[in-house]
Amino acid sequence: MIPAAFEYHRPGDLSSALALLQEHGDDARVIAGGHSLIPMMKLRMAEVPHLIDLQAIDALRGITIEGPRVTLGAMVTQHEVIASDALMAVAPILGEAALQIADPQVRYMGTIGGNLANGDPGNDMPGLMQCLDASFHLEGPEGARSVMAREFYESAYMTARADDEILTAISFTAPRGGYAYEKQKRKIGDYATAAAAVMLTREGSTCAAASIAMTNLSDVPVWSAAAGAVLVGTDVGKDAVKAAVAAALADIDPTEDNRGPVAFKRHVAATIIARAITRAWGRA
């Protein structure tokens, strides 16, 4: 559990960080909170000769709420998310999800950007951001661009971010209606056996809009358009929930690991999704 030797860089602004990435190419990686990368380096599963720490770049910090638009700097920590009253007022689902990530010590260091950019299918924020239809803002040598969360993830640890780009911010429109982030895990600090993010909007007694995404049930986060569509126009009663769950399960592809076999994960996913829908509807 001792990493190989590496050079440590701590640039003070984004352009310096990008220049370092350019200079060292494949030998360099940026580090945010480090709670995925450092264990990988200690296990020597990742060798990073040049580690570029983003902590000193103020431009990557801060939570901005302008009208309905919410922008999170990539270096905003999970703790800052939870502690932000303004953010909790407009998007409480972020806090509900962040509180289910690891433990307080990890949340003081772990960042939204790191959680999103690493591409680990176990991370909770990617599914949530797909549920919220968020945009990811990237900067690289060619300039800035945005990618939708729902188009960002290609396979485990593979994303639309180029190696010489840095995720700088995330933005989304503050959601309306009911919400829930439901997660089953074996213990504190574990990745989800199954987790679901659900946003529902109610008009009268029927569901006007629905967004459902899932975590750790495939090699990428899964936003199930079909599951949401099934709920729209219904009373989110027992049969509608059942149909939405069936639609969601058609979109997942879990694999066996120490958490259990595939059949178990699919059953748990069904239970978790149903609970998330029911809870979200109760808040809608």
Partner: protein
Amino acid sequence: MNDLTPDRDDRVAKLKGLGCSRKRVEDARFTQGKGNYVDDIKMPDMLHGDFVRSPYAHARVVSIDASAALALDGVVAVLTAKDLEPLGLHWMPTLAGDKQMVLADGKVLFQGQEVAYVVARNRYVAADAVELVEVEYEELEVLVDPFKALQSDVTLREDIAGETSGAHGERRHPNHIFLWEEGDKAATEQVIDSADVVAEEMIYYHRTHPCPLETCGCVASMDKVNGKLTLYGTFQAPHVVRTVASLLSGIEEHNIRVVSPDIGGGFGNKVGVYPGYVCSIVASIVTGKPVKWVEDRMDNLMATAFARDYWMKGRISATKDGKITALEAKVTADHGAFDACADPTKFPAGFFHICTGSYDIPVAYVGVDGVYTNKAPGGVAYRCSFRVTEAAYFIERMIEVLAIELGMDAAELRRINFIREDQFPYQSALGWEYDSGDYHTAWDKALAAVGYDGLRAEQAEQLAAFKRGETRKLMGIGLSFFTEIVGAGPVKNCDILGMGMFDSCEIRIHPTGSAIARLGTISQGQGHATTFAQILASEIGIPADSITIEEGDTDTAPYGLGTYGSRSTPVAGAATALAGRKIRAKAQMIAAYLLEVHDNDVEFDVDRFVVKGAPERFKTMAEIAYAAYHQAIPGVEPGLEAVSYYDPPNMTYPFGAYICVMDVDVDTGEAHIRQVYALDDCGTRINPMVIEGQVHGGLTEAYAIAMAQEMAYDDMGNCKTATLMDFFLPTTWETPHYTTDHTETPSPHHPIGAKGVGESPNVGGVPAFSNAVHDALRPFGLRQLHMPHDHWRIWKAANDLGLHD
């Protein structure tokens, strides 16, 4: 007299002796980060060791090329078996009469096995060099299933392939280690085969790991000028380590000093001798410099001693009205690659034959087959006396299965089979003499405390609601009544490597009335510095706050066999009391002289000797201590010191009643613990607060073991649980709340009646948690579900029972 009473109470309170919830004196330094652990030790020019470990569970080592590692700046040496062979140290004896490779000698037998030992100027270079050692392996067929290992043509231990007998008798297969038997086999079979009711079940107690927060490690320092070897290490038995180190190295024992500094938990993991210690000593002898080796978490989980892994085939018979008539246990014990269990020499299955439990069972038989597989060696007592958790789990599961067979309430079945109070001392069918107990009182108290009948009614209501589709949660009530056997043990039948399992205490009273006591044990968090001072305070009348307790330095402490198996209080605690009584006897003579009366005319009273019938005439212990060093007393040697080596006449038999109530979610497999009630009877209670802490800690381990914690391997022998992501160590978040309670039945043969408690909650807790899971699913036909009861296994049980249809 009345006006003297409060004064006496004050004096008693001031001592902080037996029965006082004295705050732990160790905690000031531990809670402030001021402990001194092995990894805190830094010495000038100290080198660092690290292992090249096998990625394979079974493979031939074709070649080892260390040239690239040796070329790295800062690397001092790379040791392989070839380097150790001329010293005779490429293999070492285990505590179980087997031998174990120190470094891979021609082949590897488990994943994580030590192959080469790198010595470098710092820890980082050592880790880099490990990567550079090139080892060529030729993979061999892997055996991870002990039943298949006994059928296989593959011989794991080629070094003893032709030997048809081992340290514990006949070996009937190359992968067989021993068959150990106790009890009357023929009579047991005869009773069971003709019984009214027989319950039969295979009970598996899975492989797990003690996983102390601090991993194992040492610093070896050979002083070539004076020929002395100093070995600092995480040793639960420092004196035994000194003797073993002397026997292995040829260094005379007086030239070896072993020091156990603060230890961050042991739980049996730190009893044995590991390759890291041997290699560090050799490296220090070769280089003449101190060498430190400290495991990381993966090293610890993969390579140092595991616990349990017992497949227990049981048969239990009873009359139609539930009176148990016989018990049979046939165990297949997976010992891994080497038999490195840490049991007393004559007991290769430890004290598993305590498995008749708390019940009056007239005839019984135990047969344990030890088997080699391609897993890490070990089989240590993880917070229990030797194989006692396995035994307690076995009988407490068999009782539950028998209750199903009889259609009887399991609480009642226990009650009608308990050994009665008037039967103590009780001779068990498997050869033990239980010292004391009052099981019925404890059981009734426990059932009343939880409101057992009400819980059963509530459970029935919840079951009905489940069947109506109103809930997906089932309520389970887990019962457990356990009897432990601790305090090993009488020298006549308990030894480790030939050394009798006595223990010791040496006391020096200082002239101003304070004291130091040194013991042969070593605290790893048990709080010895707190509780042994309390024993002594009550015995010699000096306040516990004025007594220093010191352990772990073999140059200063008297010889003892160490701390494990809840033996410290039963054995060293007894030595402490008896050494204290020697002090008191001498103090009495001094007091009589000072008071100018005959020895028999003074009596001990809390903190002083008083003239009988004249309590105003007295000498306090402080005055007596002063006189011992400052006054010529005819016929009495100066000074006030004593030493006692205690050979216990018997083991002690703590017992307890634990009850767990939980809800099991059949869809997610999650178990929510509602309530855990733990009644312990550990005899005389020295420090109720320390006892409560011990019980909380042990219950938390029991909860982990029963519900999720395991060492799992795939078919290739890859360890699947080598990090704390997959190996469950509960945090405060997962840990349930506990209610503790007690009865007090002193041991008749222990000087202060104390029995030991540190391990009871692990022993009794596991069946309580496991039985609750079983009880929840019992209405649907569940008889036996192997631990750990993690989410997917509970889900699978529910699925197999048709609860998802």
